[in-house]
């Protein structure tokens, strides 16, 4: 007895065809189990976010009595958070400025180095690669005290420049490492074609290779942006006044040892998450390929 397979391979005799099933299809039971698992896991993944959205409609004391929100929801939290002087909108602006500057600097500075490492075997390339890997292992603890001291002497604490420079310690090695990986995936023939046409190495890089590496550049830029956006330790210590807080620091002011403004905190969280999720889902399809191409070295 033959069974027709879904792919165009020669017919194969199936050993004991009690009920004919197409290859790759699941039984009813397996299907139910599959969807049940996925629904449960998805619920766990999504529930905290939904809960935060729910709590953002409660007043100051609603966090202690969640059921009350159903009875009397309020939207005042969003208004209060948006209107706050040196509050959410300021912090959002600060986070954006710092993250964008870090990303631009990281990608710009690291791009040429990534290319050089990928293409050229120059003395010192092995130690340099090692340095990139090692600097990514640096815990916050080893650099935060000296950076704090240096920035303090230069009067760069509580400034954008200070924080961007600090983040560059993380972003530049990371970008260089990832970009080298991306440039590795671009065939060397392109470079040779450029050289035949008479371009200098830098010209080849700029005119031929960079356009091809644009997806890789974009993904690297995205990861850098994410890291700078979500960084907590340096931002908490280096930004001291509310007009300079990034979102990570600002959010901490709502809930601390002696206060619990969960209403304001959840409203701010919802706004941040909505913004972040929108950006994320626009890019997410490229992240899968991005990671495998760049990181699997």
């Amino acid at each position: 007895m033959t069974v027709t397979l879904t792919r165009s391979t020669p017919a194969v005799t199936s050993p004991s065809p009690a009920r004919v099933r197409r290859r790759g299809e699941r039984s009813r039971l397996a299907s139910i189990a599959y969807h049940a698992t996925m629904i449960t896991v998805s619920a766990v993944a999504v529930f905290p976010v939904l809960w935060v959205v729910y709590m953002s409609f409660g007043d100051a004391d609603a966090w202690a009595n969640p059921a009350e929100i159903l009875r009397s929801p309020v939207t005042s939290n969003y208004g209060a958070v948006l209107r706050q002087h040196d509050g959410f909108l300021t912090w959002l602006g600060n986070s954006l400025v710092v993250a964008i500057c870090t990303t631009l600097l990281g990608v710009l500075i690291a791009a040429t180095a990534g290319y050089a490492l990928s293409r050229m075997r120059f003395p010192g390339h092995r130690p340099l690669m090692w340095t990139f890997l090692v600097t990514q292992m640096f815990p916050v603890a080893i650099l935060i005290v000296p950076l704090y001291n240096i920035l303090s002497t230069l009067h760069l604490l509580n400034t954008y420049a200070g924080l961007v420079l600090t983040y560059c310690t993380i972003s530049v090695p990371f970008c260089a490492w990832m970009l080298k990986g991306y440039f590795d995936t671009i065939p060397v023939e392109i470079d040779e074609a450029g050289r035949i046409d008479g371009c200098s190495p830098f010209g080849t890089f700029w005119k031929l290779v960079v356009p091809l590496a644009r997806p890789g550049l974009a993904v690297t830029a995205f990861y850098t942006f994410l890291t700078a956006w979500g960084e907590v330790a340096y931002a908490t210590q280096f930004m001291t006044t509310p007009d300079r807080y990034t979102l990570a620091v600002g959010l901490q002011t709502y809930v601390g040892q002696f206060k619990a403004e969960w209403g304001a905190m959840t409203a701010a969280s919802v706004m941040i998450s909505a913004f972040a999720a929108a950006v994320f889902f626009g890019v997410q399809r490229h992240l899968v390929s991005g990671l495998t191409a760049g990181a699997a070295k």
Binding site: L104, H155, A161, Q237, T240, P242, Q252, G256, F258, K259
Partner: protein
Amino acid sequence: MRRGIAFLAVTVALAASGCSGSAEPADSDSGTITWWDTSDATTEAPTYQALVAQFQTQHPKTKVNYVNVPFSDAEQKFKTAAQGGNGAPDVMRSDVGWTPAFAAQGYLLPLDGTPAVDQIGDFLAGPAGTAKYDGKMYGAPQVTDTLGLLYNKALFAKAGITAAPKTWPELKTAAQALKAKAGVDGVYLNPDSYFLLPFLYGEGANLVDVANKKITINSPAAVKGVQTAQDLVESGAAAKPAYTDGYANMQAAFKDGKVGMIINGPWSASDIFAGKAFQDKANLGIAPVPAGSTGQAGSPVGGHNLVVYAGTKHAGAAEQFVQFMTSAASESTTAAKLGTLPARTSAYTSEVTANQVIASFQQAMAIAQPRLALPQASDLLGPLSQDYVKILQGEQAQAGLDNSAKEFAKLLPGWSAP
């Protein structure tokens, strides 16, 4: 790439030049000064902001930049800003425990003889003492406070308790009665070392003995005090404290009528009155903290001073601002609106003393003990909090306090330990 370096250099140059202090004329009371206020952002800040507005109408040449910084972060943020010379405020509302520490590190301007501390004799003795370091006055007392026993009168009535407990054993009985008859937790102890002090003072113990340079946190009296607290939690008389967000949970439970007694200070009154169980303000009972086995009760003197940053560029304006905010009129206004206790004798007007919260806490102040005259005093509370948490979670009190003594020894080199 070269573009990258240029970008970097330009950014650094711009930011550095833009963010160093602007050169304004050192006029006596013109310019922009920044004030870091550590009061509660929702319940207390509006009152202070109104006072700031009043100051600005009286001094049109001075602009005050009001910044509210959460109390729990303020000390560290001020230290970072003060050391770095960037973003430090001109005036800071400093907890009395921090003032000697800041002064010792050189962050503050001495205020003797300046307008900031005019009518110095009018300040209450206790608060004035906390603002001194090394013989000089570094702050102007703004509010003073102490811890008291706050209770829900309706729940007391339900449980058949007629008077506020005067000793810890009485408190335990009352708590158990509340549990049995009113169905609520008896008392909620905030697992923070500052709130442990009444237990210690009740046994005549203290963190250290300044006069003799001895560390006394692990003396038998102190152990007894801590064991009282530990027993309250372990026996179930006290609700199981939350170690994260403990203060917030305590307030929420009390405001909701889910716990009968808490130990807290006058600053929490405005928050409490916003709660369900205290819509009728008369329902809040305030008594001095219970006494220990020595028969004496004790609670720590707290409060806040307004201090001036040593690196300020507008010392004149800052001092005038401090004078305004700590004047008798301002302190009375704050007291009337927020239930805080003024730090000036003349601020205790009849309107102020008519406030039930203030009157009750004034009685509680009678047993208040002054803080340790030591710059490291507030630093000692940190390690003690960590050990207090472990003790409440079940560690042996003596072992935990011995560990605290070890940590204290690191902060006070050369002091003897028992």
